[in-house]
């Protein structure tokens, strides 16, 4: 049912889903949640926000689930939504900072969390300073292993734009890491 123009050979065969089926959407959620969360962790400021954005992503996706076309990769479609959610989140970041503070009041101090390692990594910090779409292109390419064509299909942009976005992102990242 699903087809990808330029599949990466190491990837398992993509699962098939029926648009509008709630059972299939739940399966899609279980299959993709971790990867979507991984992407969001590199785009938004912390783990809690990434989890919130991930839930927002699936909420938005569920509302449009009947309209999803099986010809497109479901995970790429989710990534596109997730990136838009992350962009909105960055726009509302100042308001959210106050909200997060309220949410965390009274909570016990958290134990060691791998996400904290991610938040402390210089590379992840540098990625968070990139424009969201550039950072997203880097994660899709270098973490999820998408080809440029797959990224283009996921984000709904020309392949050439993906290439220039990746090049710009690498240049900026290099500049930030050298400082």
């Amino acid at each position: 049912m699903q087809s990808i123009d330029d599949p990466v050979k190491d990837k398992p065969a993509p699962e098939t889903y029926a648009p509008g089926s709630e059972v299939d959407f739940d399966r899609l959620y279980r299959n993709t949640y971790r990867r979507i969360l991984g992407t969001l962790i590199t785009l938004v400021r912390d783990r809690a926000t990434a989890e919130d954005c991930a839930q927002e992503t699936y909420e938005r996706a569920f509302r449009k689930w009947k309209e999803w076309r099986p010809e497109a990769s479901a995970e790429a479609w989710l990534h596109r939504i997730a990136i838009n959610v992350a962009i909105s989140d960055r726009r509302h970041q100042q308001l959210r900072q106050a909200g997060e503070l309220v949410r965390r009041l009274g909570r016990p101090a958290p134990g060691p969390d791998p996400a904290m390692v991610a938040e402390r990594s210089d590379l992840i910090k540098a990625m968070k300073r990139l424009p969201t779409r550039q950072a997203a292109a880097l994660v899709l390419r270098h973490y999820h292993g998408y080809s440029n064509r797959e990224i283009a299909a996921a984000l709904g942009i020309p392949e050439q734009t993906v290439a220039s976005r990746l090049a710009a992102a690498r240049r900026q990242l290099q500049a930030v890491l050298r400082r």
Binding site: R30, G38, I41, Q55, F62, G99, P114, S121, Y143, Q174
Partner: protein
């Protein structure tokens, strides 16, 4: 693949693999359920709500001040009673076939404003024990200058556009002002 790309890949895997491997998948949030903080702070709807609430608060404050200036009391029940009493008096005073109680009601407001203002001055010069919450006729320092009711009542007497050309003792029914019939 450049050094940077290799470094990028290995670093992303080093950092994100444990995160995605360890995460227990939380239950999917039901559509329409947003966290309280997000609902309060996020989105254009929240900004609109905030503006709306601010507008309502400002309008309520304006009504309070206007009412206090007119009736000398911040208790809305007092204004309501006094104003409706006066409106019905004005209606009774109209002869058959005549319309227009605007001047009559307006004269009541102006008259009352003057009474409140002079009352406030009188209390302000005295012991300074005015009850500014209910009467608006004096601050606790005895100068009678801090009450909203005082300020507005005084403004009305000073401003010729509101009271200067239309004294409260004017005959109320002489002018022909078209006011829609009261229901």
């Amino acid at each position: 693949m450049s050094d940077l790309e290799r470094e990028l890949e290995s670093e992303l895997h080093r950092v994100l693999d444990p995160v995605t491997a360890m995460s227990t998948i939380p239950p999917r949030r039901a559509p329409g359920r947003r966290s309280a903080v997000r609902a309060l702070l996020g989105g254009a709807g929240a900004a609109l709500s905030l503006k709306l609430l601010t507008g309502v608060a400002a309008a309520a404050a304006a009504v309070t001040v206007a009412g206090a200036a007119t009736t000398g009391s911040i208790n809305p029940a007092d204004w309501g009673q006094q104003v409706s009493q006066h409106v019905s008096d004005c209606k009774k005073a109209l002869a058959d076939g005549q319309h227009g109680i605007g001047d009559c009601v307006s004269s009541f407001a102006s008259q009352h404003g003057q009474v409140v203002a002079s009352d406030a001055r009188h209390h302000g010069q005295g012991s300074g024990n005015g009850d500014e919450n209910t009467k608006g006729n004096g601050s606790s320092d005895g100068h009678g200058g801090n009450s909203n009711a005082n300020d507005h009542a005084r403004d009305k007497t000073k401003d010729p556009s509101t009271t200067g050309e239309r004294e409260p003792t004017d005959p109320p029914i002489q002018t022909t002002v078209n006011v829609p019939p009261q229901r």
